[in-house]
Amino acid sequence: MNPLAPYRRPEAVQQLVGQLQQAISRPWTLMEVCGGQTHALLRHGLDRLLPEGLELIHGPGCPVCVTPAATIDRALELAARPGVILCSYGDMLRVPGSDGRSLLDLRAAGACVRVVTSPLDALAIARDSPGQQVVFFAVGFETTAPATALLAHQAWCCGSSNLALLVGHVRIAPAMEALLASPHNRVQGFLAAGHVCAVMGSEELEPLSARFHVPVVVTGFEPVDLLEGLLRCVRQLERGEGRVENAYGRACRPEGNAAARALIARVFEPVDQLWRGLGVFPASGLRLRPPYAALDAARLPGQATEHRPGPDAAAACISGQVLQGLARPTACPAFGRTCTPERPLGAPMVSSEGACAAYWHHGDRAENSAAARPLVRAAEASSLSDKAEP
């Protein structure tokens, strides 16, 4: 039997939908933070089963989507160099850089770009390719950061001389905080990303929940998980509560995974980080700390410390608004017209966790109508912070 079957049972889904309908007495706006949750909601059609007053908006929890164009441009520049083997996760390969080209385009043109599913594969490739420079393009939230940290630690310990890391890791809690602090904020409760919390623990979100008096429910990715998270969030809101609850007990403990947290802390240090389309969030990024900083791809010959992106081909992409929950993907004039998975303007259409891709693959594309207008005018909401993307 599929081990996930208990979390997909139609009877349980029906029961939870009924409970949600009973629990809700007025409209609420909730954000599922993680792109994986967005895809699960749309793939299973749960969004269509929810009570009318319950609005779901899609958060910035897609690591591919929030990686700045400058970082992707840097990866493209490295991949184009002779003698470089650039390794990354599959999702990153389709994302266009400033000039519209992706790593897949470069590979087709002769660059050596490889898909890996584990960062440690990059170390094996480096061992097997002594005459070449291997670069691991590391992206993701705290979910993938421990594996990158392990790679850095092992590479450092074995004295690898031909492996470098282009680090684009981000932390989700500072981004959630910035969303709540924004004057445009519409979020009244969060479904927190279960896999991030499995690493960092639910405790990490308690200060944020307390400060803004907002319900945060740690939630998994199956239909029953998601509906349970929504139900708990709505019940808190109806009661006027705002605290952290863990609805993903089978994977997440309050303190998280101590070993993984220690590894992150050992290898990385927080740094202010630019999120694509959203601006700079304090302490929301991770960079290699000494001695692992010696592995930083920025130290490779010819790498500028400040990389300036070229003209942004994705200027028409409203991903910043989508990732703040200020516009639905289908409200974008480019959605399904000049922006499709085959020819994406921005990462949310191409990433497997992107909100636009979720609507494209699982949603009703006919939604692109007046009913799906932007929730806040574009001019009001270009960025969450003062420091917008250059």
Binding site: M1, N2, P3, L4, R8, P10, V13, Q14, G36, L42, R43, H44, G45, L46, R48, L49, P63, V64, Y89, G90, D91, M92, L93, R94, V115, V116, T117, S118, D121, V139, G140, F141, T143, T144, H195, P223, P341, E342, S352, E353, W360, H361, H362, G363, D364, R365, A366
Partner: protein, 360 residues
């Protein structure tokens, strides 16, 4: 290049560029490997083969085979090249009469691998009852190929019945699949050792000729058949909906998928409906004959299933009340709708061809 590894002894016999140069090495390859395997059917090696065939309409198909690794759990590129073309012929109801075989070899390919593949081609062709009548061999420089590419073409004879193909699909037809889906795609991914998981799954690679002939032998009114290769069921349904302008409604829960395939796809963020198969078909025929067709198919694969039906073009996806109707106010022609266990329908979209594993 599956057979070439740094540890190989220099003594291993390998394909050289000269094997494709037309000289003595070429002659040797043909005389010592290919002729014993396939023979000249008429006793003469010539520019073209001649053969006797039943009179009547013919079917003709060609396909190129590129797979890495060359030998995978449940098959190899040679068996794939024979069965793939035999299956293509079977999808219009044809019995194969003759195959051609083009081998594109990469310099350095171990001769032992080539012999194994050639033996596999011979065995598969014999099992399908079709001779390999003509062929060609080329050798490309090392680094210009993946060890071995194969192209097969096949000619088949058609029976006297009405044409089988998408134009014959009608509203009210039942939609069946001949077995569980996605085994080939997952087996190949695992065999490449790139995805960090192991599985005992074998490819579903198999000839569909016996099941098609059994369906036709029972006098069933088969409207259309499509073998589910790259792109899987999703791609086949999408193409048939697009080509016919009809609305295909699929019950997602009815689509048979092995738990190991489901688990692998969940882990990697891949869609089992879009995973490749090499021994499965989708069948369209009148709903009144669905149960009989299912019994025939289950004689070959117990997992065969009725997965949906063809609706009138342009009609809403769900005539019943309930969740389904809130969702899709206007259904375009040529659409595939998947209805899940919660009664929600969503439109099937086509993937981009290459499924890439997700980040987390």
């Amino acid at each position: 290049m599956a057979s070439a590894s740094p540890g190989d002894s220099e003594a291993i016999e390998r394909v050289q560029l000269g094997h494709g140069g037309g000289g003595s090495l070429s002659q040797q390859l043909i005389a010592e490997l290919l002729v014993p395997a396939f023979g000249p059917g008429d006793g003469v090696l010539h520019d073209a083969a001649t053969f006797k065939a039943d009179p009547g309409p013919l079917a003709f198909s060609t396909d190129a085979y590129v797979v890495r690794p060359l030998i995978f759990p449940g098959g190899d590129i040679g068996r794939l090249a024979v069965i793939g073309t035999v299956n293509d012929l079977a999808m219009v109801g044809a019995r194969p009469l003759a195959l051609s075989l083009a081998l594109i070899l990469e310099e350095g390919l171990a001769m032992g691998t080539l012999r194994q593949v050639v033996a596999s081609i011979r065995t598969a062709a014999a099992a399908c009852g079709v001779p390999v009548l003509t062929g060609d061999t080329k050798v490309v420089e090392r680094g210009k190929g993946d060890g071995l590419y194969i192209t097969t073409s096949g000619v088949g004879s058609l029976g006297p019945g009405p044409a089988i193909g998408p134009p014959a699909v009608r509203p009210g037809d039942a939609i069946l699949v001949s077995g569980d889906l996605g085994r080939h795609g997952v087996a190949i991914l695992a065999a490449r050792h790139e995805l960090g998981f192991r599985t005992d799954l074998c490819s579903d690679l198999a000839s569909l000729l016996p099941s098609v002939q059994a369906l036709l032998g029972q006098g069933l009114e088969v409207h259309a058949l499509r073998d589910l290769t790259r792109g899987g069921l999703a791609s086949a349904l999408f193409e048939i909906a697009r080509d016919t302008g009809l609305l295909l409604q699929i019950e997602e829960e009815a689509v048979p998928i092995a738990p190991a395939v489901t688990s692998a796809c969940e882990l990697l963020g891949l869609d089992p409906l879009a995973m490749a198969n090499e021994g499965r078909l989708v069948l369209f025929l009148p709903a009144a004959e669905a149960a009989q067709a299912l019994a025939v198919l289950q004689g070959f694969q117990p997992e065969a299933a009725i997965i949906g039906a063809v609706a009138d073009a342009g009609m809403p996806g769900d005539s019943e009340s309930g969740a389904g109707n809130r969702l899709l106010p206007a259904i375009a022609r040529g659409t595939v709708l998947l209805r899940n266990a919660y009664g929600v329908q969503r439109r099937l979209t086509l993937g981009q061809g290459e499924q890439l594993p997700r980040i987390c």
